[in-house]
Amino acid sequence: MATEGSPVLTRALEDYLETIYEFARDHGYARVKDIASARKVQPGSVSPALKRLADLNLIKYERREYVELTEAGAIEARRVLSRHQILTRFLHEFLRIDAEVADRDACALEHQLSDEAMDGITKLFEFFTACPQSKSGFLELFHNCHLMNAANPRCKACTLPASDQPKLSIASLSPGQRGKVRNVSARPGIRQRLLDMGLLPDVEFSVERVAPGGDPVWIKLLGFQLALRREEAVGVQVEELP
């Protein structure tokens, strides 16, 4: 579970640390009775746990009413809390699990997950929230996918070869740039029209110009010229050609 460098903490101790940190952050102090009521235990049963935390040098606790985090304790508490938050957000925002359930599940997961797995989840989460390319609604695609939920209409995008390159569409290229079509995804009627127009995998095109306001986009392919709205152009995934 815990790796070298971090003190060995049981699940209960981690929870106590988290609680103390939250009280200290929100109120400036943490009292034994607050901790007990937050953890839903008798104040008497808090003491042994606090003593163990004090032994590990994570808190200052001298049988008084107030509990203080040591520097090491604060670091450890923040680590635990951030794991909790990321897991809660991951469960709630990505998997769309109910907020309350997500919070409870995060509590259960945060203690059991290896640092390696936690690192992976954190990175994935950061990538999706921070990467500008992910704005094309990839998460939506996941949730609307036919394979994930039979109630969803069938989506044609997933049968195409996956690519390790960032997703570019005709709409993301500027006049003067050239590209090659990788895949076309759009509502059935419009998709068929785009296909009939020759926007098929491996067809090369160049962006000639854009209309006032940047929409529609004017491209040249297969020896003829085609104008299409950005709305439609985003459905045509491409790779840029030099």
Binding site: T159, R187, L195, V210, P216, W218, G223, Q225, R229
Partner: protein, 744 residues
């Protein structure tokens, strides 16, 4: 000899219409498919001695079920019973335009492939082995340049030859995997009957099943099994190719065409074939300059339409006046004869009022035909799409709406350039809100009557702007309610700039002009006669003027003696013309139209209107500018009428009477100015505002209703336009009247 049934199929921009014209000459009929706003063209002619009838199917890129045009073309091909189908391809863009041909090859038809615009392709360096192409495809191939009448005779021969040959074998090859999948579906279908479909087109049905085309319903004992097999084959194809069925099928269609073209191409098109066109686009479709240039082009077009149109309009007007005079001279006293009145006031004036706009229509459509045939209109749609799209309209909606400022009728006719039915209907329905040229005389009468001269221009501009605003909001509303549905994509081919041929342009112009004359003309004739009848009957057999003359209240004189008039107690002096005018006024009041005017008065009272405005509004339905004439008629212009009405409260008005007299004298040179003075006297500014709004928005004229009915294919839309706009006008006028009354 039986008539040969032919069909023309092909992409838009493939020169299908010019080929159609080249085959049929002027023997064609343009209408709509029943119940939809999709144009149907049928023409007739002879191939040697064989009579034929040819249908120009809507231009298409595919034969699936996604748009009404595609569905109609497909259903016609399946069930239309055509003997020969001529596929028209654009030689300068063969790869793209031949893909649709692969769809047709499965339909078990006698085909002829027509490579149109071959002259242009040859100039660009392309050289094809046409006989070899014909061998590969299994049916005749002809090169033509329809707009220059080249290759048409050969095409005629090939059609005749194809008609006498047996239906050729389908030589479409999709490639190993797809053919294997299709064979499996085809086997599952077996020899089972598919209701309503030719047993010979099972290949096509199998393809449709594999594509999961939901717009098609197949029924038959083996269909379910075939569907299950199709689902299995889809999975298999996807796992094998990494592409879903519709992508892979289109891919294979392109593959077949590409392979065939590689075999028959002797010389490729030069890479710089479109260089000139591209150079023009660098200016005309420029991101910054494109729109200003478009504005100038449109301005010049409208300027030419209305300035050049003035001369022939004058001729037509005097022509009709001359005709009216000649007809009148057949009677010794035309005013006594009902027939003379019907011919002169009903028919000649009613129809003349419509025909007089013909020069405008001809010129406007001449200009639009040139812009369309050069390819510039496609660029205009590209430039305008962003703005129009915000209001749920299409880039191509712009030109028809702009045309509506001239006249709604050609504007609605110009919506034909819109491919999508919903876009076309939306544009058509809101188009009458563009303040048309016929409404200009009304504004010229009312604006100075109700607003100070310094506000005139601003109010006039406001009227136009308000119309546009309501139109755009209404378009948004329509797209969210009645005409809800997927928006048509803007995926438009931009053909190279071409020099239009005189023949094609004249044909287009003539077609529209004739349609205007004939269709709108017949309905207008009927309504003109109806309005004439309403304002003629019941006859007035007893005039109050005559009573007054008899009793001495009025005195008939040669000319009015100004000095005598001033004396109180003296009988009022009237001239012959004045008596005539007063009689006319009484006739209008007593006629059915006058009664209807009074009858609808309670209805329009909340807007601040009275029966006189009511009658004029009824007249405005015939043609908007009739409002002015009708107001003049009910006021029966002349000073006497004014004095008569004022007689009762002479004392009350004594103060401003002198002032008014001066005004009347000053303005007596102009009838409109006098009428304006009466209107100002009788109605408040709030009524004026309500009236302007009502006339701008309400009930488009009958010509508009007629043409909307024609172009939309249904009375439903014409009546909706009529009713909807009238209700909106009523509500807005009501609000305007009451809000303005608060501030008065």
């Amino acid at each position: 000899m039986t008539t040969l049934k032919l069909a023309l199929v092909g992409n838009p921009n493939s020169g299908k219409s010019s080929l159609f014209n080249a085959l049929t000459g002027e023997h064609q009929h343009v209408g709509n498919y029943p119940g939809v706003t999709v144009e149907k063209r049928v023409g007739r002619g002879h191939l040697d001695n064989t009579p034929f009838e040819v249908t120009d199917l809507p231009g298409n890129y595919s034969l699936s079920s996604f748009s009404p045009e595609e569905r109609i073309a497909r259903d016609e091909l399946l069930h239309g019973g055509f003997d020969v189908v001529v596929f028209v391809a654009d030689s300068t863009n063969l790869k793209r335009s031949l893909v649709l041909l692969t769809n047709l090859m499965q339909l078990h038809k006698r085909l002829v492939l027509c490579l149109n615009m071959a002259d242009e392709a040859k100039r660009a360096g392309q050289k094809l082995d046409v006989p070899h192409m014909s061998r590969l495809l299994g049916f005749p191939v002809v090169e033509t340049a329809a707009n220059r009448n080249q290759g048409i005779d050969e095409l005629r021969q090939m059609i005749l030859k194809a008609a006498s040959d047996p239906i050729p074998q389908n030589r479409l090859v999709y490639g190993e995997r797809l053919d294997q999948a299709l064979t499996k579906v085809r086997q599952a279908l077996g020899d089972g009957e598919v209701e309503g479909f030719d047993p010979e087109i099972r290949d096509w049905i199998a393809t449709r099943l594999l594509l999961q085309d939901e717009g098609l319903v197949f029924k038959g004992p083996t269909v379910e099994a075939a569907k299950a097999e199709a689902a299995k084959q889809r999975e298999w194809l996807e796992s094998q190719t990494g592409m879903d069925a519709s992508l892979y099928i289109t891919h294979s269609e392109f593959g077949f065409i590409d392979g065939m073209l590689r075999e028959v191409t002797l010389h490729e098109t030069m890479p710089d074939a479109r260089a000139t066109s591209d150079k023009i686009d660098r200016v005309m479709a420029h991101r910054v300059w494109g729109l200003p240039i478009f504005a100038v082009v449109m301005y010049v077009l409208f300027w030419l339409t209305f300035t050049l149109g003035e001369y022939p309009m004058g001729w037509i007007e005097s022509g009709f006046d001359f005709l009216a005079e000649k007809v009148g001279s057949l009677w010794s006293d035309p005013s006594e004869s009902v027939l003379a009145s019907l011919l002169i006031d009903g028919i000649i004036k009613g129809v003349g009022g419509v025909v007089v706009f013909l020069p405008n229509i001809v010129l406007l459509f001449l200009g639009l035909a040139i812009l369309e045939d050069t390819g510039y209109l496609a660029r205009a749609a590209y430039l305008m799409d962003r703005i129009m799209h915000r209001f749920g309209l299409h880039g191509k909606s712009f030109v028809p709406m702009l045309t509506g400022f001239g006249c709604s009728v050609p504007g609605i006719m110009a919506t034909r350039t819109l491919e999508n039915e919903r876009d076309r209907l939306t544009t058509m329905l809101v188009l009458p809100l563009m303040s048309c040229g016929a409404r200009l005389p009304i504004w010229m009468l009312l604006v100075p009557a109700f607003f100070a001269p310094k506000w005139g221009a601003a109010v006039l501009f406001g009227i136009y702007a308000f119309g546009i605003l309501v139109a755009l909001l209404l378009a948004v509303l329509l797209r969210h309610t009645l005409l809800k549905g997927e928006e048509a994509p803007f995926v438009m081919e931009l053909p190279p700039y071409r020099l239009p041929t005189l023949r094609a342009i004249c044909h287009k112009m003539w077609e529209r002009a004739w349609m205007y004359l004939r269709k709108a003309g017949t309905i207008i004739l009927a309504i003109s006669v109806l309005l004439w009848a309403l304002s003629t009957w019941p006859k007035t057999d007893h005039y109050q003027v005559e009573d007054q003359l008899a009793s001495g209240a009025l005195q008939k004189v040669e000319s009015i003696d100004k000095a005598a008039e001033a004396k109180e107690g003296q009988p009022k002096q009237v001239t012959e013309t004045m008596i005539e005018n007063m009689k006319k006024n009484e006739e209008v009041q007593n006629s059915a139209l006058g009664h209807i005017g009074r009858w609808i008065e309670p209805l329009i009272k909340p807007l601040g209107f009275d029966w006189r405005i009511g009658t004029a509004l009824l007249g405005a339905f015939a043609a908007k500018e009739v409002f002015v004439a009708q107001m003049g008629m009910v006021y029966s212009l002349g000073e006497v009428a004014e004095e008569e009405e004022e007689g009762g409260d002479a004392d009350e008005k004594a103060d401003d009477k002198g002032e008014k007299k001066d005004e009347a004298k000053e303005e007596s040179t102009s009838g409109a100015a006098t009428l304006r003075a009466y209107i100002r006297r009788d109605y408040s500014q709030a009524t004026g505002l309500a009236l302007i709004i009502f006339l701008l928005i309400s009930a488009p004229c009958m010509a508009t209703i007629a043409v909307t009915r024609r172009e939309s294919g249904r009375w439903k839309w014409a009546l909706l336009q009529f009713g909807g706009l009238t209700v909106i006008a009523y509500v807005l006028s009501f609000m305007a009247y009451h809000i303005a009354s608060l501030f008065a």
